[in-house]
Amino acid sequence: MISTLGTLPEHESDGTIDFLKEGAVVARGAEAVLLEGELLGFPVVIKRRLPKPYRDSGLDYRLRFNRTYEEGRLLAKAARAGVSVPLPIFIDPPTFTIVESRVRGRILKDVTDQASSLMKFVGVQLAKLHLSGVVHGDFTTSNVLVDQSGTPFIIDFGLGSSSTGLEERGVDLLLMKKSLEANAPSLAKQLFSDFFEGYRETFGEGSDDVLRRSGEIEKRGRYYAERAFERDLPGYLKSWKAEGGSLHNGALWHQGSTSQGEEI
């Protein structure tokens, strides 16, 4: 069985075998550093979560450990479902390290200008991911890598989770929409609609529900008011509103009345 791994590559003259060789830093993200490396001679990327001096050390350890563990698990799950992701090769939560296969490509953020057809494939990949029971949690144009063949790879599952929830899936769509809007305001609408076309084709039934929910989440974040209205409005105002009445003092709800609705 050992032979299936091939011949072990040659190593330093002292005769020791390096299990993992760490090379140069290739990228530095918001929470982790990426290094080039070799694992038993195979080219890999080493992702290591760095400590954040700004937060409580206990919180820092908890977040880094859990995210490393979780990311490895999710990558494996996505890969098994046929989503294009870097393959997780070695996961070591105590050192906050993930070793994964190397993908060469450009960040989607840098190719969005000419990416109309590409966006459809991005939608297909996200749909596959969602169908596998995984949500990404940070699905922006910075977290899609496009390789030379034009295949989009989804990377960085650090904020992902196992979920089939409408809410979490909606957040993925919303984050992509918002990051397109932020990066390419004039093209965003078209790019998102191409993206959703691919998503819908692959996801099938229920994709419109996900889109609708993402719209709801966006609206909810706009102002606390809009959400509070539906939830906290006293009955007589609900019917007043239903009859077309406008609540010009509506902003009352966005400050100072989170838990006590008696101010009307």
């Binding site: 929470e31 700004y54 937060r55 949690g137 004039s186 989440i217 606390y224 902003a251 009352l252 100072g256």
Partner: protein, 338 residues
């Protein structure tokens, strides 16, 4: 020399300030409503504003040594904010504008917070972290507007702190009291509270519920305050860090009332340092709502040739968002407030 009057009345503070063309703040008057108990009641706040507004505006103009007819323009915050409060400032500026024939500029309150911090910092194009009672926005200027790169998906961080404070029996405003409690609570250790960052966005409602539950089940208030503040700010810091990396900006400014919290700024300094970005925290005096920031935007608009609005078309917009307003008029001028 031209002078602008800025009028602020979106929430608890009624403010008026005079700013000169050279960026010198000549006066900065304000009167903040403090509720006798509980949270802000919009109608009560509006009543307060109505009673103090004339004297606040009068003393701002007088301290600047001007006559109203010498004003080059008026800026007024027309949203976002509490409807009844907004109406006070908007109605007054309509009146002053019409009486003296002075142009009036509608100013987006959220944009003003971010702009005054930028003008004070001297940075040309920073990432702005705007944290207050009604807003938690991480924004950067792109293609003629402030674009939202991260925000709260439910309640604002100031609202989180105030709501928690009110529920545990602390007087409004709760933020400074929680900050103080947190200092003594840090030695007690961090409670495991929900930490929710979704991409560059944050969510605080689960944190509020969990913190209140912890307090009600007998946990010491100092410890809960520390854990609440620490968790909430770490979430914003992480979201801001992501936005910084995503946008590639090279400087950060903090703005809004919560930016008066020293622990918050400490975290943001650390984020900036780690990425080699310059950092500027809005000075305490300019962190909360004030007329100076409204005057700053009016000045920028006028200097850049942006059109004033007809007084009869000037209406309050309680739900205005920071990215609703076109910002094609930014100038680079170092504001002097001393």
């Amino acid at each position: 020399m031209r002078y602008w009057l800025g009028i602020e009345s979106t929430a608890h503070t009624f403010g008026a300030a005079i700013l000169s063309e050279s960026g010198q703040l000549l006066s900065d008057e304000r009167d903040t409503y403090v509720p006798p108990a509980g949270g802000l009641q919009p109608r009560e706040v509006a009543r307060h504003h109505t009673s103090v507004a004339p004297s606040v505006i009068y003393s701002a103009i007088k301290k600047a040594g001007l006559h109203p007819s010498e004003l080059a323009g008026i800026g007024v915050s027309y949203g976002p904010g509490l409807g009844p409060c907004l109406r006070v400032g908007v109605a007054l500026s309509r009146a002053v504008s019409a009486y003296y024939g002075i142009p009036v500029y509608p100013v987006n309150h959220a944009v003003a917070h971010v702009e005054v911090a930028r003008l004070l910092s001297g940075f040309e194009d920073p990432l702005s972290v705007y944290v207050s009672g009604g807003n938690t926005n991480i924004v950067a200027w792109k293609e003629g507007r402030y674009r939202v790169f991260g925000e709260t998906l439910d309640i604002a961080v100031g609202n989180l702190l105030d709501a928690f404070a009110r529920q545990v029996g602390l007087q409004h405003p709760g933020g400074p009291k929680i900050e103080k409690l947190a200092m003594t609570g840090s030695s007690l250790g961090l409670l495991d509270l929900p930490y929710s960052v979704k991409g560059q966005d944050v969510s605080f409602s689960g944190l509020l519920t969990a913190a209140l539950d912890a307090f009600r089940s007998g946990e010491k208030l100092e410890r809960v305050a520390y854990s609440l503040q620490e968790t909430a700010f770490a979430m914003i810091a992480e979201a801001a860090e992501r936005a910084l990396v995503h946008t590639g900006k090279t400087s950060i400014v903090t703005a809004g009332g919560v930016a008066a919290n020293s622990r918050f700024n400490q975290m943001m300094v650390s984020v900036a340092q780690e990425h080699g970005a310059a950092f500027f925290a809005v000075p305490l005096r300019m962190a909360g709502d004030n007329g100076a920031m409204i005057a700053s935007v009016a000045m920028e608009m006028a200097v850049s040739g942006a059109k004033p609005v007809d007084p009869e078309e000037l209406l309050p917009k309680p739900k205005l968002r920071i990215n609703d307003t076109e910002v094609g008029w930014r100038v680079n001028l170092r504001l002097r407030v001393a």
